[in-house]
């Protein structure tokens, strides 16, 4: 197991090399650079812009820039400085990453907290109205575009006043007690987590339903029922535990996709996460900030998958990595 983990972590290195190389190349191929927007300002002279370009090293060929960046990463663990913020990129990214993790976890809780009970209900009440209602709910969740759902929720919040319109904290958050502060953040978290969690929730619910239906048809369930066990015990103790197994694996994957999928929700609903920062950096062509975000996103994806694999071993003693 330990060698397996080590191998997986080491496999990050070539992956990150490939991803950062592609990202660098794509940013280079995109027209303009960080200073292009400044060129439109009639108050700034061409000489000033050229001077800044050479200060930032943007006048060198892209492969030289990439080589220097790699060298600094490998020998000094220095991921460069953001042009816009003039701070090391991870200093800019760190607080945002924490917020994105909070949102992703909350969305996972929404998704799984709703998907599993509803999936079980749906399977046990197959073809009854409960099943149909849950399925309708699931298909609605799968088919509604995230951006539209987010805007709809924002509109709802503005009209009813039940929830704040975007953001993560109230304006007087700093003057609150810590308990109220926590509730304040939770209050802000509800809508984004709901929007972000809806698609995985619907998908997991369908999976849970299908898995449980499969298991309920197996011989050992029939045996359990035949020996007169209580239906609750049959379903909860024998069937659900087996049916839920594949979903545990999916948890890791979901976490990874939630992290990268939260971009749209973050931007529309004003959640101060990595997504909105990355988008701004990308539009402004803040090169090293984009590279830093790419590295973080790729690492998260790999770690998410790794967590999934580890969870699988823990859940199913038949699986071993060696």
């Amino acid at each position: 197991m330990r060698t397996y983990l080590l191998r997986r972590v080491l496999s990050l290195v070539p992956l990150l090399l490939g991803v950062t190389f592609l990202a660098f190349l794509l940013i280079y191929l995109a027209p303009g650079d960080f200073l292009s927007q400044m060129a439109e300002n009639p108050m700034i002279s061409a000489e000033t812009i050229e001077r800044m370009r050479s200060n930032f090293g943007l006048d060198r060929p892209w492969y030289v820039q990439y080589g220097l960046w790699l060298k600094n990463v490998f020998f000094h663990l220095d991921f460069g400085e953001s042009f816009a913020f003039r701070q090391p990129v991870f200093q800019v990214i760190a607080p945002r990453l924490g917020n994105t993790l909070i949102l992703a976890l909350a969305a996972a809780v929404v998704a799984w907290g709703l998907a599993i009970p509803l999936g079980i209900l749906s399977a046990v009440k197959q073809y009854k109205w409960q099943d149909k209602a849950a399925s309708f709910f699931a298909f609605l969740g799968l088919s509604i575009p995230e951006i539209f759902f987010a805007l709809l929720m924002m509109y709802m919040a503005a009209k009813t006043g039940w929830f704040p319109v975007g953001g993560m904290r109230s304006i007087d958050h700093d003057e609150m007690q810590w308990g109220t502060q926590l509730l304040d953040i939770l209050h802000h978290l509800v809508l984004p987590a709901l929007v972000l969690g809806t698609v995985p929730m619907a998908a997991r619910m369908r999976q849970m339903r299908a898995n449980l239906l499969d298991v309920l048809r197996l011989d050992y369930v029939t045996t359990a029922r035949a020996k007169g066990l209580d239906e609750d015990v049959v379903v909860w103790k024998h069937a659900v535990r087996n049916a839920i197994n594949p979903l545990i694996t999916l948890f890791g994957f979901t976490l990874a996709t939630l992290l990268s999928g939260s971009f749209i929700v973050e931007i529309v609903m004003g959640w101060p996460g990595l997504g909105s920062l990355t988008l701004e950096a990308l539009l402004k062509q803040d090169l090293y900030l984009v590279m830093g975000s790419v590295v973080i996103a790729a690492t998260m994806l790999v770690l998410g998958n790794l967590i999934a694999d580890v969870l699988l071993v823990l859940a199913d003693p038949r699986i071993k990595y060696d």
Binding site: P31, Q37, P42, T48, L118, V124
Partner: protein
């Protein structure tokens, strides 16, 4: 099955508990009477008295679309930073009054120019203090000039603060007196000098000496380290969420009762990246100002105004302009290929062709159909809301398809093959590609109407909106395009002398043919001469005479074909007092030190 029903009930209960957890608490607001304002520090001897009255306390909430990138004025050069630091946190020797469109005293209470216009003497107000209580004097001004004009730092002040080819020199005479020495006269010096925001030498000199100035006062700096001289100082910044400014207890302006300004306890910028969310937040009452309201949303905002307790303020016609130009650059790229196809270049450089286009564009139609009446046709570089420089007598070539056709016929451009598009005598079709930035929906509509209008006079226009960076690369780096439709925002102050880069043939934003070594047409040579005279003239009435002539030449030549002048709207909550909205940016918050909020529950911060 009976058993099944029982546990499905518990599953439903689980869901209900989940949902219950999701619906969090609402926020309640306490009502309390407004306590009176206690000022712990003595008022400076040279304090500026403003003829206004108001009540202290409360908070004003505004939004910004991006995070500030730095709190260091000489390093800031994009609006998400400058909107927060320039004005609210830092001020200059002079200040600009947006409502009256004139320059007023700032940190300097008076100034004097030598008769030859080569020396300006500024007198600082006595008793000025930084927000940490330290004394503000001439050394700070000289230090600020040194860092602002340092070519190794990324500031843009250096590009403006020069004349006669030399950067201005700042000299300390005594602790309250500074002299500015010029190599050649620069007329609007007093108006421009306010754009150099004074920074504290006692806090920044050490970093400048050891070469770390360029990373000083980044957004991770503890707020107490950022020492400023404007009405507000930094209280806190949360990346991606908000930037909170609080009252500067050492500010140097008082109201008519001698009470220190600003009235507000806090001035908050919420960071909202999405324009729809920005609009919703304002309508939900979470913010006090939306600036500007997107033109096509104005009716929506007007419908909600009364119910939601705000006003839609019509600021009149914007100072910004929308215009198009044809690429007249005769140069070739490094491979020897001309930037513009030679037959097209010949058309673009012919004034009759440019006038025909101006005659061909139905500006009234654009105002009616795209702007729904919220604007006027535009023919001149400076719009009529510019009190100092508007020239109503600029030659105009308004919509008249017959005149347009006659001009094109006269040039020998006729539709021989009857396909609806004219051809040159050599048989090439008269067509060009028009670009604009795809992020701007109104401009995309303008472009569509323009290409239809010009189609009717036999010019085929391929309208291709491009993403902003792509467009800028074509415009500034590789010069490979036919025509572009863009806009130009106004500087503050809206001063003609600051637009040298646009009108001078050597300028980088002299869009139709930038960075010329020598002017390529007599008209451009004439404009260059006029701009030289203008910049040396300190009397604004005389500057206007020179610029009137520049605008007339621009009209005659149609180097830029002006399209429309839009109106400008902002939304402002009813309880905001002392606001004097102006068409110049910052439209509403330029006098933030005078603004107060008339709300019963506004608190006064304890000091």
């Amino acid at each position: 099955m009976r058993k099944g029903r029982r546990w499905s009930g518990s599953a439903l209960a689980l869901v209900a508990v989940g949902l219950g957890l999701l619906v969090g608490p609402g926020c309640g607001r306490k009502e309390s009477a407004r306590p009176s304002f206690v000022d712990p520090h003595p008022i400076p001897a040279g304090a500026n008295k403003r003829a206004i009255e108001g009540k202290h306390g409360g908070r004003f909430v505004f939004v910004t679309i991006g995070d500030p990138k730095t709190f260091n004025p000489p390093l800031a050069n994009e609006v998400s930073s400058t909107d927060i630091i320039n004005g609210p946190m830092f001020v200059g020797l002079t200040a600009y009054n947006n409502a009256d469109q004139r320059t007023e005293p700032g940190l300097a209470e008076s100034w004097e120019a030598s008769p030859d216009g080569l020396t300006y003497t500024f007198k600082l107000r006595p008793g000025l203090r930084w927000s940490d209580g330290a004394t503000l004097d001439a050394d700070d001004v000289v230090f600020t000039a040194k860092v602002s004009l340092d070519p190794a730092l990324p500031g843009a002040t250096r590009d403006i603060f020069q004349s006669g080819g030399k950067v201005w020199e700042f000299v300390k005479v005594d602790s309250l007196t500074i002299q500015v020495k010029l190599a050649a006269p620069f007329g609007p010096l007093v108006d421009v000098i306010g754009s150099m925001y004074i920074v504290p030498e006692h806090r920044l000199a050490a970093s400048y000496a050891d070469g770390t100035f360029a990373s000083m006062w980044g957004t991770d700096t503890p707020p107490a380290d950022i020492v400023c001289n404007g009405p507000f100082r930094l209280k806190g910044f949360v990346p991606g969420e908000k930037c909170v400014l609080e009252r500067n207890p050492h500010y140097w302006e008082v109201d008519q009762n001698g009470l220190r300004l600003p009235y507000l306890d806090e001035y908050v910028f919420l960071i909202v990246k999405d324009l729809n969310t920005m609009a919703l937040k304002f309508q939900a009452g979470e913010t006090d100002l939306i600036d500007p309201i997107v033109l096509d949303q104005v009716p929506l905002f007007e419908d909600e105004a009364e119910k939601s307790g705000y006003q839609v303020v019509d600021l009149g016609l914007d100072l910004a302009t929308d215009f198009m130009w044809l690429n007249q650059n005769p140069g070739k790229d490094p491979t020897g290929k001309p930037y513009v196809e030679p037959y097209k270049l010949a058309l673009f450089r012919d004034v009759r062709f440019r006038r025909a286009i101006s005659h061909g564009v139905n500006r009234e139609g654009i105002v009616k159909s795209v702007l729904q009446g919220r604007g006027v046709p535009l023919y001149e570089p400076y719009t009529r809301t510019n009190k100092a420089f508007w020239n109503p007598n600029v030659p105009k070539f308004p919509y008249d398809p017959e005149k347009a056709k006659a001009l094109l016929d006269e040039m020998g451009l006729v539709d021989k093959n009857r396909d609806g598009v004219r051809e040159t005598p050599a048989g090439k079709p008269v067509e060009f590609t028009l670009h604009t930035n795809s992020e701007n929906n109104l401009r995309k509509s303008f472009g569509t109407v323009i290409s239809e209008d010009l189609g009717k006079i036999g010019i085929r226009v391929n309208f291709v909106p491009l993403e902003f960076n792509t467009l800028i690369t074509r415009l500034r780096a590789d010069y490979r395009y036919d025509a572009i439709l863009l806009g130009l925002a106004s500087s503050t102050p809206p001063e003609a002398a600051l637009s040298g880069n646009v009108y001078r043939s050597s300028g980088i934003t002299h869009n139709w043919n930038p960075r010329q070594k020598t002017p390529s047409t007599p008209a451009e040579a004439e404009i260059d001469r006029l701009m030289d005279q203008l910049i040396a003239e300190s009397d604004i009435a005389k500057r206007k005479e020179y610029f009137d002539r520049v605008q007339e030449i621009m009209g005659e030549e149609q180097f830029s074909i002006y399209i429309v002048n839009r109106k400008l709207y902002v939304g402002l909550r009813d309880y905001v007092r002392n606001a004097r909205p102006s068409v110049i940016r910052q439209h509403v918050t330029w006098n933030i030190q005078e603004i107060w909020v008339d709300k019963a529950d506004a608190k006064v911060a304890a000091r």
